[in-house]
C-alpha cells in the first residue's frame, strides 16, 4: 500500500485504477473542474482540471494516478489559465447570471467565483443559440450549454436512452437531441431521468422548480464550490 502521489507538496494515497482527480477528491484536495462528475466516465473536455505532472500538463480527471507523480495544482499560473478557460466558456455562450434560474446552484458561476473571475475579459460572441421549451417538464436552453456532455453521458450510461449528443464542429458544436423534429418533446426524456438533473449550468432544467429554493439559500450562496464538492466526495466515501 505504498501507492502515493504528491500534489503541491502534499503526499496523497491512491488506489490502483484511480485518476489523479479521484485521488485528490478522496484526500480532500480540490482541483477545479466542470465537465467532471465523479458519478460518470471521465471526459476531459473543459480542461479546468489541468495539472502539471512531472513538468507536463494533463487533465487530472482522465490521467491515471501513477506512483511517484509530482503534481502542481493550486499554483498562480494554473489558476490564471483556469480563469481564462472559464472566461472563454462565458463569452462563447450567453450567460446572464442575474436572471438565470440556476444562479447560486450553477457550477460555472461557482467556479468563476472560486477563480476570482471579475470580468469576462474576452469579447462576447453573442451566438444565436436555440432554446427548446417544447418538452412539458424540461427546458433546454442552449445559451447556457458549456458542451461538457454530462447529459450525454447520463442519458447514455445511466438512463439507457441516448437522448443527447453533440453535432457541429469547433465553435459551432451544439447539443442536439434524439428526435427527427429536433425537439426535446419528441424524445423519451423524462423529468426523473438523470440527464434532466445533471447539467452543471442552467442549460437543462426541470420546469416549475426554478425558484423553489430562493436566492440566498442556494448551494453556493454561502459556500465555495471547493468546499461543496469536497464535502460531497467525503459523504460519498463515507457511504462506502
Amino acid at each position: 500500500m505504498s501507492n502515493t502521489i504528491t500534489i503541491d507538496g502534499q503526499t496523497i494515497p491512491f488506489q490502483e485504477g484511480q485518476t489523479i482527480m479521484d485521488a485528490a477528491l478522496a484526500a480532500g484536495v480540490y482541483i477545479p473542474h466542470l465537465c467532471h462528475n465523479p458519478e460518470f466516465t471521465p471526459h476531459g473536455s473543459c480542461k479546468l482540471c489541468t495539472v502539471t505532472v512531472n513538468g507536463r500538463n494533463v487533465a487530472s480527471c482522465t490521467m491515471p494516478a501513477v506512483e511517484g507523480q509530482q503534481i502542481a495544482n493550486n499554483t498562480d499560473e494554473l489558476n490564471a489559465k483556469r480563469r481564462s478557460l472559464t472566461q472563454m466558456l462565458f463569452v462563447e455562450g450567453n450567460h446572464f447570471c442575474p436572471f438565470c434560474e440556476k444562479s447560486g446552484n450553477c457550477n460555472l458561476q461557482a467556479v468563476a467565483y472560486h477563480l476570482d473571475m471579475m470580468s469576462p475579459h474576452y469579447n462576447h460572441f453573442y451566438p444565436a443559440r436555440e432554446v427548446d421549451a417544447s418538452h412539458p417538464d424540461i427546458l433546454l436552453d442552449r445559451n447556457r450549454c458549456i458542451l461538457c456532455e454530462l447529459c450525454v453521458r447520463a442519458s447514455r450510461d445511466v438512463d439507457g436512452k441516448e437522448v443527447f449528443g453533440l453535432s457541429g464542429r469547433g465553435i459551432d458544436c451544439t447539443l442536439v437531441v434524439n428526435s427527427s423534429s429536433g425537439d426535446l418533446v419528441d424524445t423519451d426524456l423524462a423529468a426523473t431521468d438523470k440527464a434532466a438533473s445533471v447539467c452543471p449550468t442552467g442549460a437543462i432544467i426541470v420546469k416549475r422548480h426554478g425558484f423553489s429554493v430562493p436566492i440566498g439559500q442556494r448551494i453556493f450562496d454561502h459556500k465555495d464550490i471547493s468546499q461543496v464538492q469536497l464535502e460531497a466526495a467525503r459523504k460519498e466515501s463515507g457511504h462506502e
Binding site: L85, G165, L166, S167, G170, S180
Partner: protein, 614 residues
Amino acid sequence: MSQCDSPDLSLKLAPIFQKHGRDPTKVLQILREVQDTAHCICGQSIDLIAEHLNLPRVRVAGVAGFYSFLAGGQACGEYRVLFSDNITDHMLGKAELMDYFSKKLWLEPGKVSEDGLVSVDSTSCTGMCDQGPAALVNGMPLTNLDENCLDLICELIRSRKPVAEWPPMLFEVQDNILRKDVLLGEAFEPGAALKATLARGARETWTEMDKSNLRGRGGAGFKTASKWSFCHAAIAEEEGHVVCDIGDRAERIMVCNADEGEPGTFKDRVLLNSYADLVFEGMTVGARVVGAWRGFLYLRGEYSYLLDKLEGVLQRRREQGLLGKNILGEQGFDFDIEIHLGAGAYICGEESALIESLEGKRGRPRNRPPFPVTHGYLGYPTVVDNVETFACAAKIALHGGEWFAGMGTAQSAGTKILSISGDCERRGIYEYPFGTTIRQILKDCGAEDPYAVQVSGPSGTTISWKEFDRKIAFEDLATAGAFMIFKRGRDLFQMARNFSHFFAHESCGFCTPCRVGTTLMQRIMDKIDGGHGTASDLEEMKNLGQLLKTMSHCGLGTSAANPVLDTLNKFPDIYEQKLKALAFEPAFDLDGALATARRITGRDDKEAHLGAES
C-alpha cells in the same frame, strides 16, 4: 428543390445501404454516399440511416454535422464547387477567381443557386499547392485554375453536363517529382520486400526496423520499431517495454494515415498515385511483424478521386498473392486492406481521431492513456503510421536496417519527401536526405529572393531568411513535408491570418482552449486586418497562444498558435504597421455593425457609413 425532398428517398438510398450492410462503423461511408447522391443530408436521410444501422438518431446526426463535406443539414448544389483556401492558392489568385466564378453564376459563396444547380464555397487545402489555384467539383480535383477554365466550367454546369463527361484535361493532376532519392528513385518490384521479410523472419524484420532508426514521417517522429513492438506483446516483453494486455482480443490492426490535411502537404498524394505498391507492401510487412490481419487506408476525402485506382492496386495485389489468405503461400499469413474515406476534417490526421473516424464516429481525439497501440480500432491494438513511413518500411525490409540508418543524420535516418510550393520556379515533390539545409532546397527549386519559409505547414515553424542555414531533421526542423516559400514583399500577416482561420475551422470543438481559443485568435487577426488592432491585441494573442499550447487536448490545439507566435516573434513589423496609432480602440466596430442594415436597404453610399466624413 433539393433531391432530398423527393418521396422516394428510401428507394434512392437502398443501393447504398445494401452495399455497406448494417455495420455501424460504416456510418461515415454511408453518409458520404448519401451526400453524393442527394446533394445534402436531410433529416429524413438521417432517420433512414439510423434505422438501417439500428443506431440512435442523435449519433448519426452528430457524425453528419462534424465533417465539412457532409455539410450537415445544409443543401449544396448538384454541382458543388469548393475552392482550396490555402495561402498558396491565395497567392495564385484564389479570392479573385472565386469572386469571378460566383459573379458569373450569380451566386453568393456558401449559398445554393435558386434552381439548386450549383453552390460555391471555400474548403481547406486540397493538397494541390504545386498546381493551384485548385478546387474540387463534386469531389473531383480541378487544378491550375484561371478565368478561361472557369468560363468553361460555367458552361459545363449550365448545360448540366455530368462531371464524369467533362474534358479530362480539367482534372489533370501532375506528380511533379523533381528530386528523387532512395524512396522515389529506384524501381520497386511488388512482393520483393515481402519475400525478403518471409526469408528473414518476422522477428528479424523487426530487428532490421529497429536498426534502421526509422521515425514516423507524419511529423511527430516516434520511432516506428518501438510503435510496432508496443503493439506486439511478445516483442514488447522481450524489449522490456510495457506489454499491452490484449486479453481475448488477439486481433491487431494496421492503419495507414493518408489523411494528408496539413495545408501545403501533397507528398502522400504522389506516393499513393505512383508508389501505391510500396505503401501497401510496407503495411503488409508491418502486419507480418506485429501479427495483424486487418489493415485500413484512411484516405482523405479530398483524394477520393484516387479511390478506384487504389482499389485496383489492392485487387491486383490480391491476385498476385500479396494480400488476402496465405500471402506468398505462407500458411497463416493473412492480411487485407480496406480503404476508408474521410470527409473533410483535418483533425482526423491525429491518430486517435482517425481511429474514431474509422469506427464511424465524430473525429474527436481520445483521452490517453490507453494509447492506440494497445487499445485502438474497436479496442484492438492498432498501429497508425504515415504513408511515407510505410514506404520506408518496405525499403528497409528489402535492403536492411543498416542501409537505411546510413543515410541522413544521427537522429534522423533516411530521406524526407518535401512538398514544395509558394514562391519558387519549380514547385513539386523533392526527396532529400535528412540534414539538407533550407538554403540548398531553396536554390534547387529556384526560389528568388526568399524571405520566409513555412516548414511543416501551419502547425510547423515559420522561419525567416536569417535561418536558412537550418536543416531538415528531427534535431533541428522537424517536418511532415510541407514547405511553403514566401518571397520578399509577401504580406506574412496574411499568411498567419489564413492559418488562424484554418485552425478555427478545423478545431473539433472538444476542449475549451482550442474551441474558443482558435476562434478568439481568428477574430483578433481579422480585427487587426480590418485596421482596428492595438498593441493590447498583440499581448492578448501571446497569452492566447500560451493557453493553446499548454492547455489543449491534442496537437491541433497545441500547435494552432504557432504561425501567430512565430510571426509575432520573428516579424513583429508586419503587425505593428497594421495597428492603429491609438492607445485605445473599441472592440466593437460600430460601422461594421451596420453592415446588415446596409445590405437590407441596398445602400453602400458614404452616408450609410459611420465616420465616413473623416
